[in-house]
């Protein structure tokens, strides 16, 4: 129970961090940082709220999310090959 609350506090704090860093002009790094924070947040939600971490009987389910992410990266990356080099 307490874990849930700690996680929630971290999530809210990360949101704050994301908002406050966005004010500054860091060029391209701004996007990277924002996405990094978003990934950390979704990692917390996945592992704690959605109990991926405790998925004992089907451990491979944990790999589905990184897997799907890799696929998405491929989709976007290959499309960029077209867009960026046209």
């Amino acid at each position: 129970m307490n874990t849930y609350i700690y996680i929630w506090v971290s999530l809210v704090m990360l949101t704050g961090l994301s908002v406050s860093t966005a004010g500054r002009n860091w060029g391209r790094w701004g996007l990277t940082l924002a996405l990094l924070i978003a990934f950390i947040k979704s990692g917390l939600i996945l592992n704690y709220f959605m109990h991926l971490k405790d998925q004992k009987k089907m451990k491979w389910i944990r790999w589905m999310i990184p897997g799907i992410f890799a696929i998405l990266v491929f989709f976007i990356g290959l499309t960029f090959l077209d867009i960026a080099l046209r």
Binding site: I71, L78, T79
Partner: protein, 527 residues
């Protein structure tokens, strides 16, 4: 033990079918509905050919023709080949082959059929409402699909809904294969048909949503004018093509992988020996599913896509050809030193290998950059995909029907007629589609209502082929339908198959197995 036909549930008659959660009944529901749509699609194909028998307007007007090939494509792709094997034979046989009583989510399974019918109903409704039948081609390319006054939204919504059904079937198949295997049914004792369906199911789950969102956006763009793809609003129409093919290329593997699974079932049974290279065939399915997801750009070589992208996509395209080749070689080797009985299912399976090889090899010409510049959007492409889809998936379905007919219906068909039908189909098929390859090489573009006089003789020949094909189809289906009622009773294992479905009565009892079997050997071990 009463068969699943006799045991009704809460409902009677008709209702006992459309509200049944039994995977076998649902499989047969799909069989009936999919074949009905197939009959419509075939009729449309026949009309297309009739129009093209001579240059100039023959039996219809251009707008009618455009609607015809669009409907023909939409019905054949979304209502026939994509759901075809997974929903009919996957539903019916996958649970039995892994020793389960049903799929993992029987109710969801029924729901997918209902959704399928809903999507089909929308697509059909779209013909009679709004601005009339859709005329965009099955690819719905923007900006044409945003501009044409016909009823695009409803048709697109129909396809979107069909996608849902496909995803749900996929989820069901993956979960069933993971969770409901009988004791002792290890991954490498799975029949290869299960491997085919399993790989397909993953593609269904992972890429169908991409086309879903694409169509949804097109819909929103048409209805409320949000700017996404429309160049008039700054959009990039090529992005539509990317998103569309991210789904629709893998979709061609949704069509072919289960068909390849069927071939891998039929060959060992009629060669009476184990399959050659079980693991190679199983893994090549996965390889096709994975690599095949990243080759979509080969539909866009002349679209204005960047050259670098074209080169990369061309390379990846060639790489998917290799695992397909591995399968073909293993199949041919399975015949080696077998004890072969050329029963109708085997005949169709061998024809599959021949026609699919032609289709696949013609694909290589399109995968090569320089040649595709010439071949793209010509009849070469039309020839290519009819060879792989009809010659491949279509003939695999015919093979499966003849292979599993006794199991599904408990009756045997007339054993001689399929050979005559096969002869007509084979000759008709090649007369119909081979000229298309030549036409394409000579530069006849596709989706043409009319053509220049130099293409006349080949187009004419092609139309003649379609008539021969009619004969074959009618004879084949006539035989099956007739024997559905009049055929003699079938034994439980007429072909001597070793997979689980042949170890239970024909037709199977309601819950397939009295007792869940204990599996102790591979699927094709005859001794």
């Amino acid at each position: 033990m009463p068969s699943f036909y006799e045991e009704n549930g809460r409902f009677r008659g008709f209702w006992a079918w459309i509200f049944s959660t039994d995977h076998k009944r649902i499989g047969l529901l799909y069989l009936l509905s999919i074949l009905s749509f197939y009959a419509i699609g075939v009729l449309l194909g026949f009309l297309i050919r009739l129009e093209l028998i001579a240059p100039g307007p023959t039996i219809m007007r251009p707008q009618t023709y455009n609607a015809l090939f669009t409907l023909h494509g939409v019905i054949m792709i979304f209502l026939f080949v994509i759901p075809g094997i997974p929903a009919i034979f996957g539903n019916f046989f996958l649970p039995i082959q892994i020793g389960a009583r049903d799929v993992a989510f029987p109710k969801l399974n029924l729901l997918s059929w209902w959704i399928y019918m809903g999507g089909a109903a929308l697509a059909i409704l779209s013909l009679f409402t709004g601005g009339g039948p859709i005329d965009t081609g099955w690819t719905f390319y923007v900006p044409y699909s945003l501009r044409t006054p016909v009823n695009v939204p409803l048709a697109v919504l129909g396809v979107f809904v069909l996608g849902f059904s496909s995803i749900l079937t996929g989820i069901n198949m993956v979960t069933t294969t993971h969770q409901l295997r009988a004791p002792g049914m290890t991954w490498f004792r799975l029949p290869l048909f299960v491997w085919g369906i399993y790989a397909t199911a993953w593609i269904q789950i992972l890429v169908t949503p991409v086309v879903g969102i694409t169509l949804l956006l097109t819909l929103m763009e048409r209805l409320v004018g949000v700017g996404i793809f429309d160049p008039a609003k700054g959009g990039d129409p090529l992005l539509y093509q990317h998103l569309f093919w991210i789904y629709s290329h893998p979709a061609v593997y949704i069509m072919i992988l289960p068909a390849m699974g069927i071939i891998s079932e039929i060959l060992p049974v009629f060669a009476r020996r184990t399959i050659f290279g079980y693991k190679a065939i199983a893994f090549s399915s996965l390889a096709i599913a994975i690599v095949g997801s990243f080759v979509w750009g080969h539909h866009m070589f002349v679209s204005g896509q960047s050259d670098v992208a074209s080169v990369v996509f061309s390379l990846l395209t060639f790489l998917v050809a290799v695992p397909s080749g591995v399968k073909v070689f293993n199949w041919v080797s399975t015949l080696y030193k077998g004890s072969i009985e050329v029963a109708p299912p085997l005949l169709f399976a061998l024809t599959f290998i021949f026609l699919f090889a032609i289709g696949g090899l013609t694909g290589l010409f399109q995968g090569a950059l320089a040649t595709d510049v010439h071949l793209h959007d010509t009849y070469w492409v039309v020839g290519h995909f009819h060879y792989v889809i009809f010659g491949g998936t279509g003939f695999a379905i015919f093979g499966a029907l003849h292979y599993w007919f006794p199991k599904m219906f408990g009756r045997m068909y007339h054993r001689k007629i399929p050979y005559i039908a096969w002869g007509l189909l084979f000759v008709g098929f090649n007369t119909l589609y081979f000229p298309m390859l030549l036409l394409g090489w000579q530069g006849m573009p596709r989706r043409y209502f009319d053509y220049l006089p130099q293409f006349h003789s080949l187009q004419f020949l092609s139309t003649i082929g379609s008539w021969i094909l009619i004969g074959g189809l009618i004879l084949m289906f006539g035989n099956l339908v007739h024997c559905l009622f009049k055929g003699e009773k079938a034994e439980s294992n007429p072909w001597g198959g070793a997979t689980l479905e042949w170890q239970i009565p024909s037709p199977p009892p309601r819950e397939n197995f009295d007792e869940i079997p204990l599996v102790s050997k591979g699927p094709y071990e005859y001794r």
